[in-house]
């Protein structure tokens, strides 16, 4: 296959946004009849590259060659006309229309100006049977079918006659095992017809199952292009994260875990949620820092949300301080002494319209109820105390939080939860997007909190950081807890091997 000329070649692609160099000298190519996986962690530039490729963004610099000719896309419509079709993560179909209508909407076959329903239904059936190898009753409304079938219909819709390149952005994120297999069958079938398929996913197993070629991006830069068979999993993970195994070999690791003898603060057994994270066992003791490691989308955040009651578990048991409990709301978790700093600071953490002071006292005040208001003086004392303790800048409690930098907003979130004096603190990516100094401060703070007896669940994409602070680590892959590491096993090498898996 690789001796063919590529149908798509992109060279020296640059894309800048205010303050971000989203694509920095990126190369990318696609071959007909191949499934090409685009890999990278958060912020690697995958979605920007796709948007450039589909005409959503213009390129700032660089050249795109499509079927041997230079290509300048100005809109998604032009991309479609050129033969580049996309199926986005959220399905953009009309659930109340029939399958055939969804496939042909906007380009219905007409006869004397009237829609010819018969011709449309026949064409839809033929399209599904020949190109996707599936048989459906195309006259039934779309929402009578499962999400997986809807996904297939979306693909059928994207495949007009001229389509040469199909982009599938996270198509499997809401599918179960069988549905994913069905989708892969269709992908292989399309591949045989000479279609080039660009596949974006967070699931490593799926990459190795279905793709022929892998391109890796990191921080907006091109890392490399490899044939899937020639790239071992561990290497893939290293290249995505940007660490070399040899260099990491002798990292020092934390000594004995404190508080192991005491009964654990929290014990989850078989806790899980369909579509979120597969059932897992996890214990966290008081004074212990448990790390969660894994790639983006591996189920780390989903685990945290179950333990905080932000999502409801649909199976398994949760025991907190010896008592079994069903967490169905964050309130309940907070009442039991759990605090959760979300990774999505902007959408799930700060309240932009409120001041630093109000953001700090929000959880405590919510816990007290609206009528037992903290006096203004008490609020100011608290705010001043935490602004000083965490060195929040600017040190002005009446400043609106949206005017603070990311790192300082993060400190305000920490202040909000530390004020609750929690027994378990869940930190999801507490150091993402903040500068090195603030990062070290937060790590130090976490260690000192655990020495004072607080249980901490620490989630981070940076292995170095997880290794440094954790006394135990649970490693996740493809929404499963795959390994628990303790003692001398807590090393970046072992974590990376566990993430890469079989």
């Amino acid at each position: 296959m690789s001796e063919n000329r590529p149908i798509l070649q992109m060279f020296g692609i640059h894309k800048r946004f205010p303050g971000v160099h989203a694509l920095n000298d990126v190369r990318f190519r696609m071959f007909a009849g191949e499934v090409h996986a685009l890999m990278g962690e958060n912020g690697a530039g995958k979605s920007t590259l796709i948007k450039v490729l589909t005409g959503v963004y213009p390129v700032d610099e660089g050249s795109v060659e499509w079927e041997g000719r230079p290509l300048h896309l100005r809109s998604p419509l032009e991309a479609q006309q050129a033969g580049i079709s996309t199926v986005y993560q959220e399905i953009n179909l009309c659930p109340n229309l029939s399958v055939a209508e969804n496939i042909f909407i906007g380009r219905e076959p007409r006869k004397f100006g009237k829609i010819s329903w018969k011709a449309m239904n026949r064409a839809a059936e033929a399209l599904l049977a020949e190109r996707l190898n599936v048989k459906l009753d195309v006259t039934k409304p779309l929402d009578t079918y499962s999400v997986a079938v809807q996904q297939l219909v979306a693909i059928a819709r994207a495949l007009n006659i001229s389509a040469r390149l199909l982009i599938l952005d996270e198509p499997t994120s809401s599918l179960d095992r069988d549905e994913t297999n069905k989708l892969f069958e269709v992908m292989r079938h399309l591949k045989k017809q000479g279609l080039a398929i660009l596949f974006v996913t967070h699931f490593l197993d799926q990459v190795y199952e279905v793709s022929d070629r892998i391109t890796i991006l990191r921080n907006g830069r091109f890392v490399g292009e490899y044939l899937t068979d020639e790239l071992p999993r561990v290497e893939l993970v290293q290249k995505m994260i940007g660490k070399d195994l040899e260099l990491l070999g002798g990292m020092p690791k934390r000594t004995a875990a404190p508080g192991e003898a005491k009964p654990p603060y929290l014990r989850a057994s078989g806790l899980g949620r369909k579509g979120g994270v597969e059932p897992f066992d996890l214990t966290i003791g008081s004074g212990e820092i448990v790390g969660l490691a894994g790639l983006l989308g591996s189920g780390r955040t989903e685990t945290a949300r179950l333990l905080f009651g932000a999502d409801r578990a649909d199976q398994g048991r949760l025991v907190i301080e010896g008592r079994e409990i069903r967490l169905d709301s964050p309130r309940k978790a907070i009442d039991r002494g759990i605090a959760f700093c979300s990774e999505n600071r902007k959408s799930e953490g700060i309240i932009e319209d409120l001041t630093v002071r109000e953001n700090i006292i929000l959880a405590l005040q919510a816990h007290r109820g609206w009528f037992r208001a903290l006096s203004r003086r008490r609020q100011e004392e608290i705010a001043d105390e935490y602004i000083r303790a965490l060195d929040i800048k600017p040190p002005d409690p009446e400043q609106f939080i949206r005017n603070l930098s990311g790192g300082n907003q993060q400190k305000v979130m920490l202040a909000r939860w530390l004020l609750m004096n929690p027994r378990l603190l869940i930190l999801d990516e507490p150091t993402r997007g903040i500068d090195v100094g603030a990062k070290a401060e937060i790590q130090k703070l976490v260690l000192s909190l655990s020495r004072e007896g607080m249980a901490v669940l620490f989630i981070s994409s940076e292995l170095e950081e997880v290794v440094r602070v954790s006394s135990r680590i649970a490693v996740l892959r493809d929404r499963r807890h795959v390994r628990h590491l303790t003692g001398d096993d807590i090393q970046q090498t072992t974590i990376m091997q566990a993430i890469a898996g079989g």
Partner: protein, 346 residues
Amino acid sequence: MSVRWWNKPLFWPLAVFGLLLLLNLIFKPEFFAIRYQNGHLYGSLIDILNFGSPLAIVAIGMTLVIATRGIDLSVGSLVAISGAMACLTISRGDDQHALSLVLTAVLLALLVSIALGLWNGLLVAGAGIQPIIATLILMVAGRGIAQLITSGQIITVTSKPYNFIGAGWLMTLPFSVYLAAAVFLFAAWMTRKTSLGMFIEAIGCNPTASRLAGIRSRSILLAVYMFCALCAGIAGLITSSNVSSADGNNAGLWIELDAILAVVIGGTSLSGGRFSLTGTLAGALLIQTLTTTIYMLGVPPEITLVVKAFVVLAVCLIQSPSFRRSLTRGIPWSPAASGQEVSRHG
């Protein structure tokens, strides 16, 4: 961050308010005349306070609902229901002048209003229906309920104590002005001395983050819709007692739109979050002054609504920072840029 004076939320409504007064000063100086007669103050300014009080009261309730990212379209119907409920109770009594009867009627009307507010709140917070649809139900059905209560007639009462609510005077000023002031002070106290105001802003600004911070948004939403309905109920009592009758069809007609307008003019965003009760009060006064001014200046009745619309449009445009910038720089107005600008100033 220092905010320039023309970016303060209250500046523009007050500026337009001042402009209206200036217009009156030039063309109708008698606008400012206040006479003292039989222990009462009379004059256009007093009329504005008097006639504006139902709108101000409804708008105060509406402010809190809008701050939660909601809206309450049913307040006009609630005005009608509350007045109908009170007048029906009084008209059925043996002695219409008995204070106990009037108090019972008032209490009953307000309880019904609160119950209907609870219904709105349950639809929004319990059933998760969009506020505009949820309250539209009662907006339409409420008119029907009001007419059922009055049996399709206009109920007239002769009760003196009831008439006092909307037409009485206390210490030289109309009684309704005291009611509006009381509602305003109560709302201000509730939102700023307890943490209700902060929770309302948090829910309106970021519902997800509020839930994760442990705020009971459901009960707060219920309370806010109930308070808004209570405000509408009080406004309904003033409106119906002022004319000693209940008109299920026309009482409070379109008041929801004026109330929403007052809130927006007062600087509270329809997308929820930060709210200003003082701003709403200024907005309500502005709308009432405008109405009175139009009459005073002798604008022909058939074009009053158009004039009113233009003034409101002017106020809304001039409040938008990007529109003001385009005026000074002569560049085309882009709403997309305005969103960023607003969030930066805050």
